[in-house]
């Protein structure tokens, strides 16, 4: 108990003298704020990407591709296969007793970003007639749905916001067709919002293709997945891979999130080392400014633990302030910002996503800050504790 009182007393004393050391202390605060801001904003990219990808896909939907395909881009399913997949077990049926599936095909459209005119590739996805039943989350927010057999497309909300020439009424050129934009859709912030959609048969006939790329099926329940998969694997006429839709999209974003995380930790790590030295500097000078004071306290009978704790507490509080400032800066500047990168649909199309500075991420940044503060405070604290009292008093 006595120890705690000592720690309390010394720490309070330290803080009261803090105003005299404002500029030195600011170095720690600003240094750590910088580290945390950079770390959190870079990581916000990967959280945003993961969030978008995890929103895409449901547990009770499965995507079927040709076996060996890592992504839809490299998959091809002929008509016959598509017909056989429809007969798989466990597919949910609609009021008329028909299985709820959509056989899809896609092509790449070259578009331009609004921000810098950079040319990017976007996905035009051809979907089956039951697409709305497969994806009930899709709602038209502007204009209307496309009609089959005419070159009409609807565009995702993110694509509409980020890419040029996608307003209702605009015409998008592709090989063999001029697509009229007739509507804008929303799918609850998932990867499809970066894409355009049209009727699969229309797209296939314009592109003179007979094959689809994937089939997405709505299952009776998430647990029906295994039965569905088994029934397709058991069919000797089919050579397909069946994946849960959510797993598929998670897999698609993996490379990109890994790259982003590596960048975040390498840059954040290097900056953190720099900040540790800045903190060391500050705390050493804080200790040396108070040599006399510390020695006097020690002579009065204050224990060395109390000294260590008080210095650590000061470092920690400074780090905490820096961490909070950094996290808030990242949040204020970047939360909700939209960026885009390659990653949608087999790594070929642009994927638009929002940076997400989540509370967890901010806490993580602050924890990182505290660690920097602790390391930076530890050695100066030990120095304060080890100080030979007599010598320190004489030195003054």
């Amino acid at each position: 108990m006595k120890l705690f009182r000592q720690i309390g007393a010394v720490t309070a004393m330290n803080f009261r003298s803090l105003p005299q050391r404002v500029s030195t202390s600011l170095v720690v605060v600003i240094g750590i704020a910088g580290v945390v801001a950079v770390l959190v904003s870079v990581l916000a990219m990967s959280t945003g990407l993961i969030r978008t990808m995890e929103n895409t896909g449901r547990e009770d939907r499965a995507i079927v591709m040709r076996n060996g395909s890592v992504a839809e881009t490299s998959s091809a399913l002929d008509r016959n296969s598509a017909r056989l997949i429809v007969d798989g077990a466990g597919i949910k049926r609609d009021a008329n007793g028909e299985p709820i599936v959509t056989a899809e095909t896609f092509r790449i459209l070259m578009l331009q970003k609004k921000a810098d005119d950079a040319e990017i590739s976007a996905i035009l996805r051809g979907v089956g007639p039951k697409m709305l039943q497969v994806r009930p989350e899709l709602t038209i927010v502007e204009g209307r749905m496309f009609q089959p057999a005419v070159a009409e497309v609807i565009v995702g909300k993110s694509a509409h916001a980020q890419f040029k020439g996608l307003n209702v009424g605009d015409v998008v050129r592709s090989r063999g067709a001029n697509w009229t934009v007739v509507g804008v859709f929303e799918t609850g912030g998932d990867a499809h919002e970066s894409a355009l959609m049209t009727d699969a048969e229309t797209l296939n006939s314009i592109d003179q293709r007979g094959a689809f790329q994937s089939v997405t099926a709505l299952l009776e329940s998430p647990s029906a997945f295994q039965a569905f998969k088994d029934s397709l694997s058991a069919n000797p006429a089919l050579a397909v891979d069946v994946v849960r839709e959510r797993d598929y999209y998670r897999q698609q974003s993996k490379t990109m999130t890994t790259i982003i995380s590596v960048i975040a930790y390498v840059v954040g790590g290097i900056m953190a080392v720099g900040a540790v030295f800045a903190a060391l500097n500050t705390m050493y000078s804080a200790v040396s400014a108070r040599l006399q004071e510390i020695a006097t306290l020690r002579a009065l009978g204050f224990g060395s633990t109390a000294m260590v704790m008080s210095v650590l507490a000061e470092a920690l509080v400074l780090a905490l302030i820096g961490g909070v400032i950094g996290a808030l800066l990242a949040w204020a500047f970047f939360n909700g910002n939209t960026v885009s990168t390659l990653g949608g649909g087999g790594g070929l199309g642009q994927l638009v996503f929002e940076l997400s500075v989540s509370p967890q991420l901010m806490v993580f940044g602050i924890v990182w800050a505290c660690i920097i503060g602790l390391i930076g405070g530890l050695f100066p604290a030990l120095r304060a504790a080890r100080l030979p009292v007599a010598m320190a008093l004489r030195a003054v």
């Binding site: 810098d116 900040a275 050493y284």
Partner: protein, 383 residues
């Protein structure tokens, strides 16, 4: 110069503080060197790309095929030296998680277009003679333990051959070294003639014509000529120089420039406070010493210059160290593999030095001014 000893001694007056400050500056410039180095590295790599090579793809996107019939027409455009092609095969070895960047091509022409590929002439000959032949990069052959003469099954999820299988067997007839073109260069080539004959669909289509020019200065004219030639035909084309193509592909990933600048900006801003604080502390501690100097006859300006020099020395020395460290990192084998032969661009080092000077001035000036204004009597009295 005769004051160097004095400045040096002032700098090391408090060793721990100087060392810690220095380490922080070194780290900041290490980061600066790394990020801007990579950033510059990308742009110089792009600029270094051959301007005498053009890439022709379908206007509507590179995944749309173009007919093979364009080949002879492009070849006949005046100023064209050689034309080869790429048809995307998209293979994998043993399982889909081992992708093989395979392209169908015309090997003889390919070597004319990419002059820096190192390959033994007998391999090119063997490739021309063996229908099912394949040329692989030495690196890829080493990864999978392939040797010349091996027959390897390559799976593809796109192309079915006439036998109804999507596993194709190829005979490795030779290896090549294309390290001059970086890690992204396709490392597995099959014969287009064989591929086109054996595939079930997509016959007569390919994805890129690669055009080598006699005179790079003609690049613009020839690009236009090729595109005009196919305007209003079933597949319109788009012709780009190698660097324009690479640039647009890179941009699809991310605006690297922006990210690098933003991070470096944050780091340098932080740094400014750090050095400013160190210098301020150091001057404050030396108040009486500086007063003694003035008593000995040092003019106000001289004292100001002394302090500024100290700040400059600290920043420049640490910055040089940090950038040297970054240069060392670039020499590491892992990064060499990524960028090809890459070293710290002098331009970046120069900018780094400039920033160091700037930081030194901004952070050194307030304490230096304070030192200049010092009143001898008051300073010595400890007031």
């Amino acid at each position: 110069m005769k004051y160097f000893g004095l400045v040096w001694a002032g700098l090391w007056r408090k060793k721990t503080r100087t060392v810690f400050t220095m380490v922080s500056i070194v780290i900041a410039f290490l980061l600066f060197g790394l990020l801007q180095g990579i950033n510059q590295g990308f742009s110089t790599a792009l600029a270094r790309l051959d301007v005498d090579r053009l890439y022709v793809s379908a206007r509507t996107g590179m995944t749309d095929g173009m007919p093979i019939s364009y080949l002879s027409r492009i070849r006949n455009v005046p100023g064209v030296r050689a034309v080869s092609m790429w048809a995307y095969f998209g293979g994998y070895y043993q399982e889909a998680r081992n992708p093989i960047p395979a392209f169908a091509t015309d090997a003889v022409e390919l070597m004319k277009v990419y002059k820096e590929i190192k390959i033994r002439p007998e391999y090119i000959e063997a490739m021309a003679k063996t229908r099912t032949g394949a040329l692989v990069s030495e690196a890829l052959a080493a990864t999978h333990g392939w040797k010349v003469g091996d027959r390897v099954p390559i799976g593809t999820s796109i192309w079915t051959n006439k036998a109804g299988s999507n596993t194709w067997d190829f005979d490795i007839v030779g290896t090549f070294d294309a390290s001059a073109y970086g890690a992204g260069f396709p490392s597995f080539y099959l014969n287009y003639s064989y591929f086109d004959e054996a595939r079930q669909f997509g016959t007569g289509e390919l994805h890129y014509y690669i055009v080598s020019l006699q005179d790079p200065k003609q690049a613009q004219r020839i690009s236009r000529e090729i595109d005009d030639m196919f305007a209003n035909s079933s597949v319109e084309t788009r012709t780009q120089t190698e660097s324009a193509l690479a640039q647009s592909q890179l941009k699809q990933f991310a605006d690297i420039n922006f990210i690098a600048n933003a991070i470096v900006g944050a780091v340098l801003f932080t740094l400014l406070f750090l050095t400013a604080n160190t210098m301020m502390q150091s001057v404050r501690e030396r108040t009486s010493e500086l007063a003694v100097l003035k008593t000995l006859g040092y003019s106000d300006t001289k004292v100001l210059i002394l302090v500024m020099t100290e700040s400059l020395l600290l920043c420049l020395f640490a910055a040089a160290l940090g950038i040297a460290l970054a240069a060392l990192v670039f020499k590491s084998p892992a990064l060499q593999k990524l960028f090809g032969d890459f070293s710290m661009p002098l331009f970046v080092a120069g900018i780094g030095a400039g920033i160091a000077v700037l930081v030194a001035f901004i952070s050194g000036f307030p304490p230096a001014w304070r030192a200049r204004q010092l009143n001898i009597v008051e300073a010595l009295a400890g007031r």
